[in-house]
Amino acid sequence: MTASRKVTTQQLVDLVLDPRDPGYEAAAERHGGQAPKHWYDQPLVAAGALVVGLVLAIAWVHTNRGAPAAAKAHDQLVSQVRTAEKTAGDLTRTETALTNQLNAVRAAALSGSSQLVRAIERRQLLSGEAAVKGPGLEVTLAEPTAAGAPTDGAGRATRGPITSSHILIDRDVRSVVNQLWSDGAEAVAVNGIRMTPTSAIRFAGDAVLVDFQPIASPYIIDAVGNPDGLITGFAASDVASRYQTMASARGIGFTFEQKDELMLPGSPGTVLRYARVAR
């Protein structure tokens, strides 16, 4: 037991201290301390060295070919995402144009009964399908500027880099939106995306999603409503005091100000697949 352990230790010491392949020594000893000469010595060494060089070159080529391939795949994916985003944007624009056209045609068709037109407009207003304007409150939440990359105003995530710090998440945007609703807002938009009755503010990866569209800091929440009621209600709320504390403690940007005129876009409209009017 002791002997075998000794041998093992000795082997390890040999491995570290004397790493020469004992094969050379043994071969030299066999031939009396002098390297023997054979006819095949030179070709053998040449072939061995050739293989060694080949292996090194192949490894080098392989390593350097792999990197551009990965970059190419990445670029391809990015361009695919960009194309899909462009398609989505085009489709949204088409939908908005068609909705406007539909509204115009309907207004023309219903020109006889202004009561019906008003009822439809009111429903579109409430469901967030029609663009609205009016006085209200604008709340801005932003990641700390020192840690994050500079952003160019409120944006969809594609317009600027997603900031490196992630203090603010979907919950923060959502609580501000809910507070504004409870303070009497009549229409709310987050970074230019109109809130509808079916809107969801969620978190996926590192991005806040509003109705499946990623948005990036700063988060600008516009609410149309009675401006005095909104600002007094919001300023006194727990939500506002929480973000005031976070602003001084963790350096997030948090401001809210009264606006005389806010323009909120309409949402492309909700398609209801299952809900039917109960009569």
Binding site: L15, V16, L17, D18, P19, R20, D21, G23, Y24, E25, A27, A28, A35, P36, H38, Y40, D41, Q42, L44, V45, A46, A47, G48, A49, L50, V51, V52, G53, L54, V55, L56, A57, I58, A59, W60, V61, H62, R65
Partner: protein, 110 residues
Amino acid sequence: MIAAVALVIGIVVGLILRPTVPTWLEPYLPIAVVAALDAVFGGVRARLDDVFDAKVFVVSFISNVLVAALIVYLGDKLGVGSQLSTAVVVVLGIRIFGNAAAIRRSLFRA
């Protein structure tokens, strides 16, 4: 001398042909590289010690590559492939360093 020329020719041929490494061979490439470097340094050291032997050079290179590949193959089958591959690289790396130190000693007497 002829070995150095053949080494350069091998590198040039590899760079010109740019062969594609099959996927199943990829895990063994780093091991082959380290074994190749080990064979080169071991050969140079033996040459400087005047005990160089063509047969030992070729056989030790081939057997090192095969044994290392076998160890990694077994490790792959048993779920410790990357760890064993690291072990092979470390062991051969120690040999390379030792041989490089010996070469330095016999070249510069320092």
